[in-house]
């Protein structure tokens, strides 16, 4: 079973849809059906035929607003007690990270937070893998209670299944109004475009000083890439928190991830290790990011960036000339 989260714009969240796909794969290994339970205040605008699940259960109640989790905890508790799933997955969005522990406490079951990989063994035991503190380790965790419950980092596990349209069932619920009241709110920032970027230039402490940032901004612009960073740069305010890749930032899987002056701590790598191609530019050939990179450039970050910029500018200049030639003919 997967929680279907509805965003403030009234749409089923992308993270939930992605997670439903993951759940389908697990369900097919276990030869069981997968269900998405959507808890919502209004009926959804979007068609639910495309949700990757065998069944979609829509639980509707006026108190199920996207802002407050109390009602969602109650609705999900009902759904779980009703269907008794063997596995329950929730996206580790801010809302999911509030819902999951509260629900786990009510159901009196264990919970593994922020998983980056999931698997089931022959006995149907969910192997829940997450980064563990203290450096270069991942931990696989199992639960002794049912449902086996985990939150999953949005974007960390990618799965692509195609299924026939799900059976859709809707139910109205009567839930009491929550005790915490939402007064008002505002959107802080536009979500960064990093999540969908094809090419990402990521910068770390090895880029030197804040003055060098213009070089990398220019580089990203010329390459049509999005700019991301490691945590120290977000901490220092050189870049926005939303651009931070890693355990306490975002998880992305671009076609190319090009890391300038990033050491590649485990906390950083969990945010990018599903990228198709990783290029690392680092003075230290032993840096962890170099160990995992497809292309390991042992050189100064600013030197390489400047060189790429001049190559691109030259190319642009060149094609300009060629275009003029073409026009003359």
């Amino acid at each position: 079973m997967v929680w279907g989260q509805v965003d403030r714009d009234g749409r089923l969240s992308q993270a939930s849809i992605g997670l439903a796909s993951v759940a389908c794969e697990l369900a097919s290994v276990m030869r069981v059906k997968s269900t998405m339970v959507i808890t919502t205040e209004r009926m959804l605008h979007m068609g639910l035929e495309n949700v990757p699940a065998n069944k979609v259960l829509v639980l509707r109640c006026d108190h199920l607003t996207p802002m407050m989790m109390e009602g969602h905890v109650q609705a999900m508790e009902l759904a779980v007690r009703d269907a008794a799933p063997s596995i329950l997955l929730i996206s580790a969005t801010p809302e999911g990270r509030e819902l999951a522990p509260r629900l786990a406490a009510r159901l009196e079951v264990g919970l593994t937070a922020d998983c980056t990989a999931l698997d089931v063994d022959d006995l149907g035991i969910l192997q829940q893998t997450r980064p563990a503190f203290g450096g270069e380790l991942m931990a696989t965790i199992v639960s002794s209670t049912q449902p086996q419950m985990a939150t999953v980092r949005p974007g960390a596990i990618i799965s692509d299944v195609s299924l026939p349209p799900p059976v859709i069932e809707s139910r109205d619920l009567e839930l009491p109004r929550g005790q915490v009241i939402w007064i008002d709110g505002s959107k802080l920032k536009e979500t960064s475009d990093l999540a969908g970027a094809e090419v990402v230039i990521a910068v770390g402490r090895g880029v030197g000083n804040v003055g060098n940032m213009v070089i990398f901004e220019r580089l990203a612009y010329l390459m049509g890439a999005s700019l991301a960073c490691s945590r120290p740069l977000a901490d220092a305010g050189w870049m926005q928190r939303g651009c931070q890749v890693g355990q306490s930032g975002i998880t992305i899987a671009p076609r190319a991830y090009i890391a300038f002056g990033i050491s590649g701590s485990l906390q950083h790598r969990v945010g990018m290790n599903s990228s198709d191609i990783v290029v690392a530019i680092n003075l230290d050939p032993e840096a962890p990011i170099m160990q995992m990179a497809d292309i390991r450039v042992v050189a100064d970050a600013v030197d390489v960036a400047s060189k790429v910029i001049s190559m691109l500018e030259q190319q642009a200049g060149l094609s300009h000339v060629i275009d003029e030639d073409a026009l003359k003919k």
Partner: protein, 263 residues
């Protein structure tokens, strides 16, 4: 008079902890320790909410060395401090921790109004304990709190989570999980320091709060680490030692087609 409890955790300084590959537990050893930054924010919020006769009791669960973190809370203005220490607590997962903390609060501050916690600990980073604790105690909860002020019918709270900043009204009897925020850390004043000398960190164990080791610790935990490993990497690993070639490879990688990529 308002009675508040702030739950604090002592965490190792980043980068000083290893994990026991056999048991899957953190080996803290003699690593230097600090007050979890989110907990320090929670303490600060409590101090801001505190009026003259109010109480703010800091409670922590951890090994005896955690006393240092609680002493620091007293110096900063907490009016009392309690350490829950017991060998039976070792290996507690988030839910066992929530059960133990709820029992500690029930027996030390039975008439508590407001419970404050950090939203997550820097070492585990799971952010599970506040929500679980609120449910075990039957309290309403607000996550990612960065500001709070008393109003007539409760507490007005600013919540900063993900893309949104929200204003919430929370009952006076509730749990606030405090987030990052831009709270100014205070240094202890001379009078606080003098006052805190009179105060003691009291220590309690499982029997004092009516729990048995079977209910908490590794026995009372539903989750268990079964495997620890280094993330494996299966990548090509071409090494380039000069700037020109490196720059060319950067461009090539960026323009490679998904289909052309070697599996």
């Amino acid at each position: 008079m308002t009675r508040m409890v702030v739950l604090v955790k002592q965490v190792p300084e980043p980068g000083t902890v290893t994990m026991d590959r056999e048991t899957g537990r953190l080996v803290r050893g003699s690593a230097p320790a600090m007050l979890n930054p989110y907990c320090e924010n929670a303490l600060e919020l409590g101090l801001q909410l505190m009026d003259e006769n109010d109480e703010l009791i800091a409670i922590s669960m951890g090994p005896p060395a955690t006393k240092a973190a609680l002493r620091r809370c007293l110096e900063l203005g907490a009016t009392g401090a309690v350490l829950l220490a017991d060998p039976g607590l070792a290996g507690s997962d988030a839910r066992a921790t929530a059960i133990a903390l709820a029992a500690a609060i029930r027996s030390c501050v039975p008439d508590v109004d407001l419970v404050l916690t950090g939203k997550q600990a820097m070492d585990g980073d799971t952010a599970q304990v506040p929500g679980m604790l609120a449910e075990v105690m039957g309290l309403p909860v607000a996550y990612d709190v960065i500001k709070a002020t008393w109003v007539e019918d409760g507490i007005e709270v600013m919540r900063s989570s993900g893309e949104y900043m929200d204003r919430l009204l929370v009952p006076a009897h509730s749990l606030l999980a405090v987030g990052r925020g831009s709270m100014i850390r205070r240094l202890p004043s001379i009078s606080d320091l003098l006052r805190s000398r009179e105060l003691k960190v009291s220590t309690i164990s499982l029997v004092d709060i009516g729990l048995t080791p079977a209910m908490v610790g590794s026995k009372g935990s539903a989750t268990r680490v079964v495997r620890l490993f280094s993330p494996e990497v299966k990548r090509k690993g071409i090494i380039i030692m000069n700037v020109e070639e490196g720059a060319a490879m950067v461009l090539e990688a960026a323009h490679l087609d998904r289909g052309e990529e070697a599996g």
